[in-house]
């Protein structure tokens, strides 16, 4: 083969890759645009008869708002809408990395028992009225949920340090934690009054209506910190998907990477679960949607997992208000209902089966 032929062949290969990278960037941008529209629809949805374009105008330029619009859009609706976006993104990112480090497509942020730990923490607050950190005032349910969830991942962390950070060890200890906390939770439920029980179940079903600007800010800070770390380890995390051996040969410290990523995932999911309750499905499906669309090069996979999670939870937020006007259903009930038809259609339309 002559030199020109070789150059042409190489250029062809590079060109295809370049087009795919460009398509990936466009996809992420398009998803961002779609998310923006969905958030606006989320703000519009509900009693008050806001118009889409007027709402968009008020969001982009707060100075034009009337006092009434200012109250409804900026004080009441936007924190909830943005909470849905940020928590969705947190769960999407947490799920993507949980699947990566456990090398298991069925993993999700709460695989290792975090949601039952958080529920137990909330139950301690609701049923026993006990706050693990004194002096946090009305936030004590949230704080309890967070502290117990982080505590349970510390225990998991300690076990995996002792036993070696293999996916098997992590999953088995995680399942042990899950059952322990479920049992403890049942214990508290058994002794609870009907009122406390109702409160607890409502907490577990998940709700965005408790969102406030400070809570949104906390979530944003956690998401930005953890996600920038994950993005900085993009190549190492991609390498992990080729198997431990291959990753180690490329210079990845596999055990250390697993532990640090586990800590990041725990932080993301503990914050998410303590603010909005155990929202199932988003952390499992967001990454799968991203994987089917852009593959598992983390530089595309991670941002798109976050965006997919955010889109799902925003859509859920709209549905929770739109199904019965005047009633806001708990989001935990809705996520699966609106996500599953979309997810199944994606599975059916895909030839590749990377989740096997």
């Amino acid at each position: 083969m002559t030199q020109t032929n070789v150059n042409e062949a190489v250029d062809g290969i590079v060109e295809t890759y370049r087009r795919r990278s460009l398509r990936r960037i466009l996809l992420v941008l398009a998803t961002l645009g779609a998310l923006f529209v969905i958030v606006t629809i989320d703000v519009v949805t509900g009693p008050a008869n806001l118009s889409f374009f007027r709402t968009l105008h008020v969001i982009l330029d707060p100075s034009v708002a009337t006092p009434r619009e200012d109250l409804i859009i900026w004080d009441l609706r936007l924190p909830v809408a943005l909470m849905a976006v940020v928590v969705g993104a947190m769960l999407g990112v947490a799920g993507a990395e949980m699947q990566t480090i456990l090398n298991n497509p069925l993993a999700e942020p709460f695989t290792l028992g975090l949601s039952s730990a958080a529920s137990f923490g909330a139950a301690v607050a609701i049923v026993m009225g006990y706050s693990v950190i004194p002096g946090v005032g009305p936030l004590y349910v949230t704080v309890n949920a967070f502290v117990v969830a982080m505590g349970s991942s510390m225990v998991l962390f300690a076990f995996t340090r002792l036993r070696g950070a293999t996916p098997e060890a992590m999953i088995l200890v995680g399942i042990a934690m899950l059952f322990t906390f479920n049992a403890l939770l049942a214990f508290l439920q058994y002794g609870a009054t009907e009122l406390e029980l109702a409160q607890l179940i409502f907490w577990q079903l998940g709700s965005l209506s408790r969102a406030t600007w400070p809570k949104v800010a906390v979530c944003v800070v956690v998401l930005v910190l953890v996600m920038s770390y994950f993005l900085s380890r993009s190549w190492a995390l991609t390498a992990l998907r080729m198997g431990e051996d291959k990753a180690a040969a490329l210079g990845v410290n596999v055990s250390l990477l697993r532990l640090v990523v586990l800590a990041g995932v725990s932080l993301l999911s503990a914050v998410a679960v303590s603010f909005v309750g155990a929202v199932a499905f988003v952390g499992l499906v967001g990454p799968h949607i991203a994987r089917m669309i852009v593959g598992e090069d983390q530089r595309g996979f991670l941002p798109l997992s976050a965006l997919a999670g955010a889109l799902i939870l925003s859509g859920t937020s709209i549905a929770s208000k739109a199904i019965t006007p005047g009633v806001i259903y708990p989001i935990g009930m809705i996520t699966s209902l609106i996500g599953i038809p979309f997810f199944v259609s994606l599975i059916l339309s895909q030839r590749k089966r990377h989740w096997q």
Binding site: V10, G243, H354
Partner: protein, 256 residues
Amino acid sequence: MTLTATDLSFAYDKRPILSGTGFAPLNPGELTALIGPNASGKSTLFRVIAGLLRPSAGRVVLAGTDLATLTSRARVRRVCFMPQFFAANAALTVFDVVMMARKNLSGWRVSASDMDAVGATLHAGGIGHLAEAYISDLSGGQSQMVSVAQALIREADVYLFDEPTSALDLHHQLDVLSQIRDMVRSRNAVGIVALHDLNLAARFADHLILLRQGRVAAEGPPVEVLYRPEIGETYGVDIHITTGPREDLVVHAYAS
């Protein structure tokens, strides 16, 4: 710049794999074939040299530097190891995974020269047509060639290939070993290939190391080592060497 190993020992729990393994300095620009029966410690020796396993005793010295004194990052940059298998159910394309090896875990951005280098390596490796294929769709032989491409694209002083030809057909066996030999010569690097096929070893290697139960039983140029009685004893077969039509050594093995 030579690579030497002296008195290496390694055990999994109580089971010794390497005991006092060492070899004379390997010269840059030469390809060494590491031969020996199954479970003789070839992969373990590679892992110890690459720094993935820590030996209980002994040293690996490259150009006067004890590799144990390097950080693991620095060591991985100097010693490139290609493991035997990789799990491949990930949604990654061949181009993605070779790019990953090229980027060597650093730098988020992919430059035009990175892309050209990956394209050229894939083309030279005869897998250009697979660039956009998912690694989960590859055959065993194809994924082995991808693995070799991942090693060839990295710039290192020492290259270790663990059975790079075990899943390949005749044509690709010769092709891959020629690529490896040419690369070792043109980069003046130290290259070691673990091989089961003694004929391929005789054809491509400048130097042979015979491993037997974790010890080096023989080492030297193929013309010397292949005629040594240790070969037959190590494998438990009768070995006869003849000369092929192109002045090459042909190894015949018979059950003894």
